[in-house]
Amino acid sequence: MKKGVRALGAGVGVLALWDLSDLEALAQDAGGATEAATHENTAYDWTKHDYVYLVDTRKCIGCGSCVRACSKENNVPTDYFRTWVERYQISRTGKRHVDSPHGAINGFEPLVTGDDVTKAFFFPKLCCHCTFTPCVQLCPVGASYRTEDGVILVDEKRCIGCGYCVQACPYGSRFIHPETHIASKCTLCYHRITRGLKQACVQACPVGARRLGDRKKVGDLVTEIIATQPVHVLQPGLLTEPNCFYLGLSGEAR
């Protein structure tokens, strides 16, 4: 028993240490990003970047700041989402209750499911910017494409709004815009990241649960975490090789 308690103590200690070093590194990382920001993207070289996204579900508080920031930054129509947050409440018997009221744009209200909830967490979602993406492969007009730096975009002038990509995306990341009638999705805030700015959702997250990394940047913290920590991608069996990784995500999450 005592051994167990000691082991638990050591575990918590290690966890605390890891969290601390993580935060320090994050602060340094943020400093570096600010220095590099020139806010002009004419000289941006896409061969020097390879973006990767990291969501730490253990930190997410479900405030929906990311959803609000994304909606404003990208003028996303009401009740359509480029990123959204789901809430999982799981009972001891494994009964799942999942909700995401209006994509969590106004956060969450307490919810009594009537079950004996033993595990609950928030699950932020966005386009996974897959390496082998079905949405690009089946676009009949070459409107969906993947940039050299790893961002999936939709050519707004080329798209005919057939909706094949919306059906093909296993993560539900795309929608047909109700006014323009063409496919719309997360652009990884391409206009911001090419200017050295943080994505709207990353900048808005108050707890550092969302981060953007760059595999081609030396000493990149997110790349380091993905390389050394137990991370998870959504629906790995589909072999889409998502570039959005999850830390601490429970297996019930879909």
Partner: protein, 172 residues
């Protein structure tokens, strides 16, 4: 050469078809298509030209240095100004003020982060409304949270109070 007529006809048809194909192709395929893959490369530049609405970190402090200083010292330092107020682009354009920023003071707003939810990490400070402010004897006003807490810099004392007084319960 008794079939010359037929051959000329066939060749002529082929030439017309080839010219027609090149002609239609020229207009059907947009400029810059295929430069870097099976897509229109100009689309990338179109995405890059979108104007950012949210500002760079530290942009607010250029004018609001007092608030920024208080904010940097406190527990809310990790929260971008634009989370509670609004994107910088709604306030400043070409260094000119174009609109007022919202200042949310409602309990509902604070509750978006601090209302107790079982899905929130247990270490995150959270309370039950309205129990918390009834318990603290705060007056029931619209801005009841701000009676005790400074939104820019919630003090250590406030935080300690919140942590001990209303520690989030483990899920049953």
């Amino acid at each position: 050469m008794e079939h010359a007529k037929h051959i000329i006809r066939a060749v002529l048809l082929l030439v017309i078809a080839a010219v027609g194909f090149v002609f239609v192709r020229h207009f059907a395929i947009p400029a810059s298509f295929g430069e870097h893959g099976h897509y229109r490369f100009d689309s990338v530049a179109e995405y890059k030209s979108q104007a950012p609405l949210h500002g760079a970190p530290g942009a607010c402090a250029e004018c609001h240095d007092e608030e920024a200083e208080a904010h940097e010292e406190g527990k809310h330092a990790t929260i971008s100004c634009e989370v509670c107020h609004a994107p910088l682009g709604q306030h400043i354009k070409n260094d000119e003020k174009i609109g007022a920023m919202p200042i949310p003071r409602s309990t509902e707003w604070c509750g978006i982060c601090h209302q107790r939810l079982i899905a929130r990490p247990k270490t995150f400070p959270q309370v039950v409304f309205p129990d918390h402010w009834i318990e603290k004897g705060a007056e029931t006003t619209e801005a009841v949270c701000l009676e005790c807490h400074d939104a820019h810099n919630p003090s250590e004392e406030d935080s300690a109070d919140t942590a001990t007084g209303s520690a989030p319960a483990a899920p049953k």
